[in-house]
């Protein structure tokens, strides 16, 4: 009896960690974009979905395999993001942030609508790459290889991004640009270029998450909008713009969700919002946010 429970518990923990990996990748992208541009990119979910679809189409029509897609898709989605920033967001950069929020929300609807029109809403499947099929029986659970890979790869990408932002010269430009872009320009740093590239990078993370998700979740036009609401709650819990906070909160909330699924399944879809309410009441700037 106890053994079966333990088996189920670890199973849910694993599902939680996997969902958490995606939450972390997506909220990290949002945090980077919000930090530098002060805009909330509602299209992040649609770009995640776009990443999954590009991976699917590349395999289907061009024979580009999963491993190549892991490189090519983030770059492609990043380029889409760069075009978005350069030609749609920048012209309204000086307006109220409500405009960019509406703009990205509209873009998300358009992208999602176009894919629903072309592929229907039932969802397509993407095979797990040959190298990651199968799994290992651990003493307390069965661990499929691809799921282990998701966790390892996401943590590595998240940590690498964190390191780049917090510990390198390029990251110092980013952090300083977040604080006082005007002074950075006066020092001779091309801030508009940094903004464009940063937006592209934040969006590329969503594309990367999309490829990672394709083999485990069904590739469907609404996959982005479903996850995005949760990711926004996570960004709020972690604290707007906090890089490390968004990663830890993403993984942590995945685990909380998994545990809730085990102990009280009825609450599993609402528990993150409950945490959000409690955090906002106790610490309005979020767990890792700086008080204004």
């Amino acid at each position: 009896m106890f053994d079966i429970n333990l088996f189920g518990l670890f199973g849910q923990l694993l599902v939680g960690l996997i969902n958490g990996s995606f939450y972390a990748l997506l909220s990290l992208g949002l945090a980077i974009i919000f930090g530098l541009l002060k805009i909330i990119n509602f299209a992040q979910g649609a770009l995640y979905m776009l990443g999954a679809f590009i991976a699917f189409l590349a395999l289907e029509y061009l024979g580009i395999n999963y491993w190549a897609a892991l490189i090519i898709v983030p770059i492609t989605v990043g380029l889409v993001g760069i075009m978005m920033e350069r030609f749609l967001i920048r012209p309204i950069a000086n307006e109220d942030h409500l405009y960019s929020l509406l703009l990205t929300f509209g873009l998300a609807l358009i992208i999602q609508g176009a894919f629903t029109h072309m592929f229907g809403s039932s969802g397509l499947s993407y095979a797990i790459p040959e190298e990651l099929k199968g799994g290992n029986r651990l003493p307390f659970m069965y661990l499929p290889n691809y799921r282990a890979w998701i966790i390892v790869a996401s943590v590595l990408v998240c940590f690498g991004t964190w390191y780049m932002i917090e510990k390198t010269k390029l990251g110092a430009y980013l952090r300083a640009g977040t604080e006082n872009p005007q002074l950075m320009q006066a020092f001779g740093i091309n801030v508009p270029l940094i903004v464009t590239l940063t937006f592209g990078f934040g969006v590329a993370l969503a594309g990367f998450a999309g490829v990672m998700a394709a083999p485990v979740y069904s590739v469907s036009p609404d996959m982005g909008s479903n996850i995005l609401i949760v990711v926004f709650a996570i960004v709020v819990i972690g604290g707007m713009g906090s890089i490390g906070g968004s990663i830890l909160t993403g993984l942590g909330m995945g685990v909380v969700e998994g545990l809730t699924k085990y102990f009280y399944p009825e609450a599993s879809t609402t528990v993150i919002f409950l945490v959000m309410v409690i955090v906002l009441l106790l610490k309005p700037a979020g767990l890792f946010g700086k008080e204004a």
Binding site: K169, A172, Y173, R175, A176, T178, E179, N180, Q182, L183, M184, Q185, A186, F187, G188, I189, N190, V191, P192
Partner: protein
């Protein structure tokens, strides 16, 4: 036959003067949105000179520095830096003409530690001060190099803001109210530092409220009022024009 000689000498003097001219501003107007802040500023600063902009709060002194850096909404006129016309130059290219800007609020980044703040601005010329020289000039910064930038005292933050642009090799410094709110002993230290920078041949345009700090080290003073330059005073005229300055500055 004797007549043309003086003219020729004037021309050669003028040419020499232009060569030494690091910064020249003609008929500069600056706007923040609808408000017209600067109304046709003319000024020049020569190689190795320390020139101050004096005036009451709101007279347009800080705006003049920001306009030079292209940090205002809109500007018209001419701004020639090291011989380059920059009125249409994007903000991020101006520093690379050899300018270092130290803003009134000091602009220390809280997300960066002291050393990261010091290393942040890219080099704009090759012969800047080394980090060691800067630490030697401001030993406090070395001791606190791993602290968060904004944890420093006001005086230390000012030293950091100054050290940061000395490292880049900028040879024209625009300094905005660097003594504001600082203890007398630190003001004295900054005065010594500006003296050393002058000896190194740096060109300095200083916005200053503290006339007693500025008077002994400056070569010339421009007095601003309501976005105009209303008076130019050479250091040797100071005594004769004390009354006038007092009227303008309200001291």
């Amino acid at each position: 036959m004797n007549q043309p000689a003086p003219i020729q000498m004037n021309q050669s003097e003028a040419a020499h003067g232009n060569h030494r001219e690091k910064l020249r501003i003609n008929n500069l107007h600056a706007f923040y949105g609808e408000s017209h802040i600067l109304h046709g500023i003319d000024l020049s600063v020569n190689q190795g000179e320390l020139v101050t902009l004096l005036g009451r709060n709101g007279s347009g002194r800080s705006t003049t520095l920001k306009a030079i850096m292209n940090m205002v909404g809109r500007r018209t006129g001419n701004i020639v830096i090291n011989g380059n016309e920059t009125i249409d130059t994007p903000a991020y290219k101006i520093a690379h003409l050899g300018l270092g800007f130290c803003p009134e609020e000091r602009g220390i980044f809280s997300s960066l530690n002291v050393e990261e703040n010091l290393m942040l601005p890219p080099n704009v010329r090759s012969d800047g001060m080394s980090v060691d020289e800067i630490y030697e000039m401001f030993p406090n910064l070395y001791e606190r190099r791993t602290s968060q930038g904004t944890r420093l005292s006001g005086g230390e933050q000012q030293m950091l803001a100054l050290g940061r642009i000395l490292r880049t090799g900028a040879n024209i410094l625009l300094l905005d109210e660097i003594t504001e709110g600082l203890a007398p002993v630190i003001v004295q230290k900054l005065g010594e530092v500006l003296g050393q920078l002058k000896e190194r041949g740096l060109t300095i345009l200083l916005v200053e409220q503290n006339f007693r700090f500025a008077a002994p080290i400056a070569d010339r003073h421009y007095v601003m009022e309501h976005g105009h330059i209303v008076e130019e005073v050479h250091s040797h005229e100071l005594e004769a024009k004390t009354e006038l300055l007092n009227t303008y500055l309200g001291v």
